[in-house]
């Protein structure tokens, strides 16, 4: 089997004022080639003005099997939302 080259995750900022957004991944031997490949693969039609490449191996992800414990506790904290509080209409928009 051929030797594998590293996998990189690609993030692109569509224009100033927006965050970089994950667009996909690619293989490259190093970060310089990863950036060049990202430019060719993901920005052929003016998709952005800035690219980040991050080694996929550097990403730590939450475990989808534990998504319940991880995210469920926020569901019952309705007092974190503005609609939980009753303000009379006379007060106006708040």
């Amino acid at each position: 089997m051929a030797e594998a080259t590293a996998l990189w995750e690609v993030f692109i900022r569509p224009r100033n004022g927006l965050s970089h957004r994950h667009v996909g991944s690619l293989h490259a031997a190093d970060e310089v080639m990863a950036l060049q490949a990202a430019r060719d693969v993901y920005t052929r039609r003016g998709e952005g003005n800035s690219i980040w490449v991050v080694p996929s191996s550097a990403i730590t992800a939450s475990d989808p099997d534990h998504a319940d414990e991880m995210f469920e506790p926020t569901a019952d904290k309705i007092y974190r939302h503005p609609t939980f509080y009753e303000i009379p209409d006379e007060v106006g928009h708040m």
């Binding site: 996909g24 690619l26 190093d30 989808p64």
Partner: protein
């Protein structure tokens, strides 16, 4: 392009009924399945095969058109064709990445293509004999691909659906540049018009075969539909393609080479449609199994590219290692 006619999918799976029912409930609720989610083995296997075939089709699909880049009749046509072929390479890469999220490596997929184990769309085993073929390929082959890919944008597997959205955005120029080429020929001299008709005659049937066997013959289609990998059956998409394409041919004054084709009021739930004549499935299977004019050439060309690119991959790795060492020393 081109995975509607998935060849040899096998959705059999061994999980227990409760697991499968829970998975199906997520699918039915239109939840997307993401890479690390629990999924039936059959779902994973079907997707690896489908996305792999799709990726290989994009890459092999660069060959019949790449063949004409140096002979494009004007700079405008050459720039457009170059951009289209480059897009197809990009499509292959988006799709390989999507397949890799399911646990198959790029190297495994490449080796399966080069060894002939993996399939790709049969359409690319036909030769592009004249410049008119380049027009017809853009119009019909990319046109059929778009029909097939638009519903894949809603595929239940997130990474595949996202890759398809990107691909679909890029495809419409492909079809339009193809149609423009054919239109230019159809409005040209008698010889040019004849060249366009000849290309249409050769590509029509292979294009409608791209949608795969009839629903009654496609064994694993039902499971793919239930899992929402596929949204429409082969025959439904083929009908859509034919209904869209026949009027486009008429506009050009070209004739679809199907003497049995008739307008049938009863098709499409009474809205009417073009009923096509019998498809030569022996021809389809012959080409799938390696008997097409170009099967050997296509794989030979991919092998040559892989072998002759070996020094580039080695050099890139050596350069990366050297830079990494230098960086370490400096720190």
């Amino acid at each position: 392009m081109y995975s509607q006619g998935l060849i040899g999918a096998d959705g059999r799976t061994k999980e227990d009924a409760a697991f499968l029912a829970a998975f199906q409930a997520r699918i039915d609720a239109e939840e997307k399945i993401e890479p690390k989610d629990a999924m039936p083995e059959g779902y994973r296997r079907t997707l690896i095969r489908q996305i792999g075939q799709h990726a290989h089709s994009e890459i092999v699909g660069m060959l019949p058109e790449g063949n004409w880049i140096t002979r494009a009749p004007s700079l405008r046509r050459k720039a457009a064709l170059l951009a289209k072929v480059q897009d197809e390479g990009g499509h292959g890469l988006y799709l390989y990445s999507a397949a890799e999220t399911l646990g198959v490596s790029r190297e495994e997929m490449t080796e399966e293509l080069l060894s002939g184990k993996a399939k790709y769309s049969s359409i690319f085993n036909y030769p592009t004999l004249s410049w008119a073929d380049i027009g017809i390929v853009g119009w019909l082959v990319d046109g059929a691909a778009i029909m097939n890919q638009i519903p894949l944008c809603r595929c239940s597997y997130g990474p595949y659906a996202r890759a398809m959205i990107r691909v679909c955005k890029e495809e419409s120029f492909h079809q339009r540049q193809g149609y423009e080429i054919v239109m230019t020929l159809a409005r040209g001299t008698e010889a040019q018009k004849a060249m366009a008709q000849d290309a249409l005659n050769r590509w029509w049937w292979p294009s409608i075969m791209m949608f795969g066997p009839h629903d009654s013959e496609s064994a694993h289609s039902e499971q793919s539909m239930a899992w929402k990998i596929k949204r429409f059956s082969n025959d439904a998409l083929r009908q859509k393609f034919i209904d869209a394409t026949v009027p486009q041919a008429e506009f050009l004054g070209l004739t679809v080479p199907d003497p049995d084709m008739v307008w049938d009021e009863g098709l499409n739930d009474g809205k009417g449609g073009y009923r096509h004549g019998p498809i030569d499935w022996d021809e389809f299977w012959r080409v799938v199994k390696g008997g097409g004019v170009m099967n050997r050439d296509r794989i030979k060309a991919r092998k040559k590219a892989w072998d002759e690119g070996a020094w580039v991959r080695e050099a890139a790795r050596a350069h990366a290692a050297k830079r990494a060492a230098r960086k370490m020393a400096a720190e």
